[in-house]
Amino acid sequence: MKTELKKSINYDELTDQELVKVYQKKGDQRAFRTLLDRHKNKIYSYIYSMVGRADVSNDIFQETFTKVITKLDDTYNEQGKWIAWVMRIAHNATIDYLRKQKRFIDVNSNTEDNDDFYERLPDEKLVDAEESLELEEAKDSLMKHISKLPEEQRQVVMLRHYYEMSFKEIAELTDVSINTALGRMRYALINLRKMFEQENGKEIRYAKR
């Protein structure tokens, strides 16, 4: 009877909190995997966008989930969002790494790593190879621009993009006021706009030649 009940659980239909409870009380590995599958790409992408290296991203991702596993009973508040809690751990681990490095990591600085990054981008259903190439180029340039943003601005952009966090949540996570978080977002957008304009200007110049 018990096994039948277990089989009948549709993990995909459960909320994060329910999955956490199932994992916590029964040690159900499938519940944990469902949680991980649901959020792994966002967490990994955020880490990668901040550190710009696959090997370091792997380490930080693993460190994050090791903490998630071991601290679940102690520091996770059942009332709160699980993903927000995980994000905080991932964010802190990323910031710790960046502080240790004490330098701005440019995704563009290492060609080998970038190749690795773009090789593992998810496949898109594209009509033809030309469109695919254009899209890849657009993503390429976008990532380059984002990587050039100051760390604080990049943080806000990525947290907003990958986690759809409110500015209140971003402010809490990054330990600044809401207005500071809003200001950082605004400057990030202004800087990106300038970079896009510069890029367009170059393209126009090349076209005129």
Binding site: Y23, Q24, K25, K26, G27, Q29, F32, R33, L36, D37, K40, N41, K42, Y44, S45, Y48, S49, S57, N58, F61, Q62, F65, T66, I69, T70, D73, F117, R120, L121, P122, L135, A138, K139, L142, M143, I146, V157, R160, H161, Y162, S166, F167, N179, L182, G183, M185, R186, L189, L192, R193, F196
Partner: protein, 208 residues
């Protein structure tokens, strides 16, 4: 100063407006401002376009092997940490309790047996002689005479009868010895180890 704070609040409103974080009243306010201020409208539209481009920021996946490793670690950790159900715990506790009870009973019985066997058997022959002789002889004597046996340094049992005046009474002592001798029986050679059965010599101490 007031102009600067107005600008800051406009910027904040603009970002919040684009991020859908305004309440209906604030949305109306921003839209009115967009209608009345063309610069503000341009600012908002530029921001919107830039923001739109961010939608194509790629999402990446961690390596599958890494995800599998984490899942295995999660399962192992949980297995070690998860509390044992109450019924199993009670059953386990009962098993521990019964094992402890058996151990206590065993130790108690063993120590009782060792203690009894050590107190019931005299360690030396002189102890045996002293204890038994005192009891028997004193029972057979009258109230006026006291027979005090002792063992000297040669392991010889001495029996001396002392009357109520404190003088030795050889007649009483002799009769006690005689009575005792009647009760003596030849020892079986097989009883006790040969080395631990010393010879007994009975002698009457002569008074000078």
């Amino acid at each position: 100063m007031a102009k600067k704070s107005d600008m800051q609040s406009d910027d904040a409103l603009c970002i919040k407006y684009l991020m859908n974080e305004l309440d209906p009243a604030e949305i109306t306010l921003v839209e009115k401002k967009m209608e009345s201020d063309p610069n503000f409208l341009i600012e908002v539209e530029c921001m919107r376009r830039t923001l739109k481009r961010l939608d194509s920021v790629p999402t990446m996946s961690p390596p599958d092997m890494l995800v599998d490793q984490i899942c295995v670690k999660a399962a192992e950790y949980r297995k070690a940490v998860i509390p044992i159900p109450l019924v199993s715990r009670i059953f386990q506790d009962a098993r521990y309790a019964s094992a402890a009870a058996i151990l206590i009973i065993g130790v108690s019985a063993g120590s009782w047996f060792i203690f009894n066997s050590s107190t019931s058997q005299p360690e030396t022959l002189s102890d045996y002689q002293f204890q038994n002789t005192t009891a028997r002889v004193s029972n057979t004597q009258g109230a006026g005479n006291e027979v005090s046996p002792w063992v000297d340094h040669n392991n010889v049992l001495n029996i001396q009868a002392i009357n109520s005046n404190g003088n030795t009474n050889n007649a009483v002592a002799d009769s006690s010895i005689l009575k005792s001798l009647h009760k003596l029986r030849a020892l079986d050679n097989n009883v006790g180890s040969p080395s631990s059965s010393p010879e007994i010599e009975l002698a009457r101490q002569k008074q000078e």
